[in-house]
């Protein structure tokens, strides 16, 4: 069962455009024209390109409205990521009040409940995803707009489903991927599947961007018996999607072969852990360890339970986990259940001074009705800030709020008591997903 090289399918070269401007709103027309034209050239349709331009306008008005000093430069970069266009705004994160990078920031108004003056949230409404990240000394805000793809028609189960044990694991061609998408929907409940299976063209572009990888189990006549995808969540974590098996014949063997090939391909990469959300009961317990379930609400209100499993790709060298006293028992119990060697160090508040204002990093996924929060900067107003964010998310109708805490970082762990007081509960641990392990906290109830 030879496995072809993954790189063979990645054929779209990275395309990007970039400009650099002073943080001055007089450049707004230049930037809007640049973003609109770049979005069109890089592959967005007119409507999507306009929405990206609208988001850019809101964001730039926010940044240049007295937040970033005029002498600072903003670098704007539009990148074709295959199935979406990403526009990044990067600038030095020093010399101004970081508080303005909370999604809830309302410069220019004294009314903290005036959500309509929150330009960041206004920007987020026009795109699919908005991310605020800090990388060292640099801040980066990313606007992401996905390309539009036609939804595939339903496909009945094939008349002659894959049968037999004679198959090879290999990378699919674009046509095979397009065939695999509806095939997956024919065999698995739609709610349990990632949305891209509804859009075969998107699936192909995801692979060709090099961001996602796929393997199929193919019979001698080209029949597709199963498939599996994966992509990097971070430098250290890979997310596997599948395996999906199309038919009963030899399903365990196909699933096992797909998993083994996927793990083998990732085995000599930088990934330390592989996270998997397998679609149904199967033999993956042989390969993965159970992390936990997470219930989420779809944008339409349906409850989706997602099981998460993981495996380490290397021998565990151990790490440090920081815990406030009220969280120590949970960590010890979880590490013991997963046999993870960790040195737990206590986080204590010894009265040291801290900044007045906290900043939360936000990633909004509107199609998934989900917000992922992280702490960009600690501050004494953390509790108020968090509550204000939660209020905003409820108003925006975002059903799933997940807060990730990297317990490899003491100052991030220090925020855990605040989360617990505000209705968050730990639901999952992602080993080595950050500086140390990341704990996912979910806000309940998840319905608005």
């Amino acid at each position: 069962m030879p496995v072809n090289k993954l790189s063979e399918i990645a054929s779209i070269p990275l395309q990007q455009t970039a400009i650099r401007i002073p943080a001055d709103d007089r450049f707004l027309p230049v930037v809007m024209a640049f973003v609109e034209q770049s979005s069109l050239v890089l592959g967005l349709k007119k409507t999507e390109a306009l929405r990206m331009t609208l988001a850019t306008e809101e964001l730039l008005l926010h940044l240049c409205g007295g937040i970033i000093p005029c002498e600072h430069q903003i670098r704007i970069r539009c990148i074709n990521k295959g199935y979406f266009i990403q526009t990044d705004f990067s600038f030095p994160g020093t010399g101004f009040n970081m508080q303005a990078f909370n999604l809830t920031a309302t410069p220019g108004t004294q009314d903290p409940s005036d959500f309509d003056d929150m330009r960041l949230i206004l920007a987020s409404r026009s795109v699919d995803r908005l991310k605020i990240r800090r990388n060292g000394n640099q801040l980066r805000i990313s606007l992401i707009k996905e390309k539009k793809y036609p939804r595939a028609s339903e496909l009945a189960k094939p008349l002659f489903p894959f049968a037999g044990n004679d198959f090879a694991i290999r990378c699919p061609s674009a046509d095979e991927l397009k065939f695999m998408a509806p095939l997956t929907r024919a065999f698995y409940p739609e709610l349990s599947l990632p949305v891209f299976f509804q859009y075969p063209g998107m699936l192909v572009d995801m692979m060709q961007s090099g961001e996602y990888h796929a393997l199929i189990a193919a019979g001698p006549a080209g029949e597709i018996g199963g498939g599996m995808l994966w992509h990097s969540l971070s430098d250290r974590t890979i997310e596997a999607i599948g395996p999906y098996v199309f038919g009963d014949s030899g399903s365990d063997r196909i699933a096992g072969s797909l998993i083994e090939a996927c793990i083998s391909e990732a085995g000599r990469t930088s990934a330390i852990a592989m996270i998997c959300h397998p679609p149904a009961t199967g033999q993956y317990h042989e390969y993965f360890e159970f992390l936990g379930d997470m219930d989420q609400c779809s944008a339409g209100g349906a409850l989706i339970r997602q099981s998460s499993w993981f495996r380490l790709m290397h021998e565990d060298m151990g790490s440090v986990a920081w815990a406030p006293a009220e969280f120590e028992a949970y960590l010890r119990q979880t590490y013991s259940r997963l046999f993870l060697p960790r040195e737990i160090r206590m986080v204590t508040d010894d009265g040291e001074a801290q900044p007045a204002h906290s900043v939360l990093s936000t990633q909004i996924d509107r199609p998934g009705s989900r917000v992922d929060l992280d702490i960009l900067w600690p501050g004494a107003d953390m509790e108020d800030n968090l509550q204000r964010h939660l209020q905003l998310f409820r108003k925006e109708g975002l059903r799933n709020v997940v807060f990730e805490i990297d317990v490899g970082s003491a100052w991030k762990s220090a925020a855990i008591p605040c989360l617990l007081r505000n209705g968050f509960q730990p639901v999952q641990i992602l080993p080595y997903a950050g500086e140390g392990d990341i704990i996912l906290f979910q806000s309940f109830p998840c319905t608005p």
Partner: protein, 370 residues
């Protein structure tokens, strides 16, 4: 919240995408981490009997003042001795700080951007690593029946192929090419590429059909043989290995060879090994044979698939993640090698060791399987 600095832009693209290998922590740190009071190391295929008595004596007799003097830069006496033993010339040998270093010598000597090397997909990783972080393509040919696939390796050759690496016996599967297979392969390569045969575990092979590759060098000047003192000869902590080849091949490799990289004590201990009467090798073989028998009988009883070929190790297929098995065994003071990095998910490799260590391993394994 510290300011981060990046030098990524200074590194070549092939270095940027390469992930550094992280070796195991020292034993004291591991014991603390996993909460165990002892640690049986069954992960690195070390010889539990230690070096031969004459090498032990040399190590004991090491005079501290020698530490302030540079060693022989090219392992002069060792090369003389090997030449005498194999009927070759001293200039046909090059030493390195472990056999890993000589892998880099060969790749640097023969490969440039656009070239490729060919090896197996599931074998010792260092050939592939050195090639990739040097910007050279590593072509991986899938194993066939757990062994190197000679036909497919030949088919993978193109006009930019410079070196074919064969691990013989293969780590971790223990399969090997017999003399006929190696000869047939060399005939088909027909001198167009360098063929490296890594014989790190050759001293463990007792079958008479194992190739005498040193003798083949005269006939095949493109053949380069790797040997190490780390495995059978138990000098892993001193880091010493070497390569042998035709004068024509070695003359080129010498140009990329780092001299003075093998320390005085390593050279002296290796010299003692070369003069040893062979009893220690026989004792080790006996131990390995006996422990393999005990272990494989146990594995059959447990219904666990395994591969027990040549070398002082056995590969075992577990019904669980190998990295989970590693953690659970470590908590019981037993350290094995996970095989995901060798592209064998859920397999572990276990070094044959003294009975107390093997008992601890089997007890530990039983506890995690139930």
């Amino acid at each position: 919240m510290s300011r981060s600095v990046s030098f990524q832009h200074l590194a070549p693209e092939y270095v940027q995408r390469f992930e550094a290998y992280v070796p195991s922590k020292p034993d004291d740190e591991l014991k603390k981490l996993f909460g165990c009071s002892h640690l049986f190391r069954l992960n690195n295929n070390e010889n539990p009997l230690g070096p031969c008595p004459s090498a032990v004596q040399v190590i004991r007799d090491f005079v501290p003042s020698q530490a302030s003097v540079y060693p022989s830069g090219d392992c002069w006496h060792l090369r003389q001795k090997l030449a005498e033993q194999h009927g070759m010339e001293p200039d046909q040998f090059l030493f390195g700080n472990g056999a890993n270093e000589v892998i880099a010598f060969v790749i640097k000597a023969f490969c440039q951007k656009g070239d490729n090397i060919i090896t197996a997909d599931k074998t010792f990783a260092v050939y592939e690593w050195v090639a990739e972080f040097s910007g050279i393509e590593a072509r991986r040919v899938p194993l066939k029946d757990y062994g190197f696939d000679d036909d497919e390796m030949i088919r993978s050759i193109d006009d930019r192929t410079k070196i074919l690496f064969v691990c013989n016996p293969n780590n971790p599967t223990g399969t090997y090419w017999d003399a006929g297979t190696l000869r047939g392969f060399l005939n088909r390569v027909n001198g167009r590429q360098i063929v490296v045969v890594d014989e790190a575990y050759c001293e463990y092979v007792e079958n008479p059909d194992f190739p005498d590759s040193m003798a083949m060098i005269t006939e095949y000047p493109n053949l380069v043989v790797f040997r190490t003192f780390s495995k059978m000869h138990a000098l892993a902590g001193l880091r010493i290995g070497y390569l042998a080849g035709s004068r024509e091949a070695v003359d080129i490799i010498r140009r990329t060879c780092v001299v003075y990289s093998v320390n005085t004590l390593a050279q002296a201990a290796a010299f003692a090994v070369l003069n040893d009467n062979g009893e220690h090798v026989q004792h080790t073989r006996n131990l390995v044979r006996r422990q393999k028998q005990v272990l494989t009988e146990y594995l059959v009883g447990q219904g666990l698939p395994f591969l027990s070929g040549e070398g002082n190790f056995v590969m075992i297929r577990l019904p669980m993640s190998d990295s989970l098995a590693y953690r659970r065994l470590m908590m019981q003071g037993v350290m094995i090698r996970t095989m995901t990095g060798f592209r064998f998910p859920n397999w572990i490799r276990v070094t044959m060791a003294l009975p107390d260590a093997m008992d601890a391993f089997m007890t530990g394994l039983e506890s995690i399987l139930t």
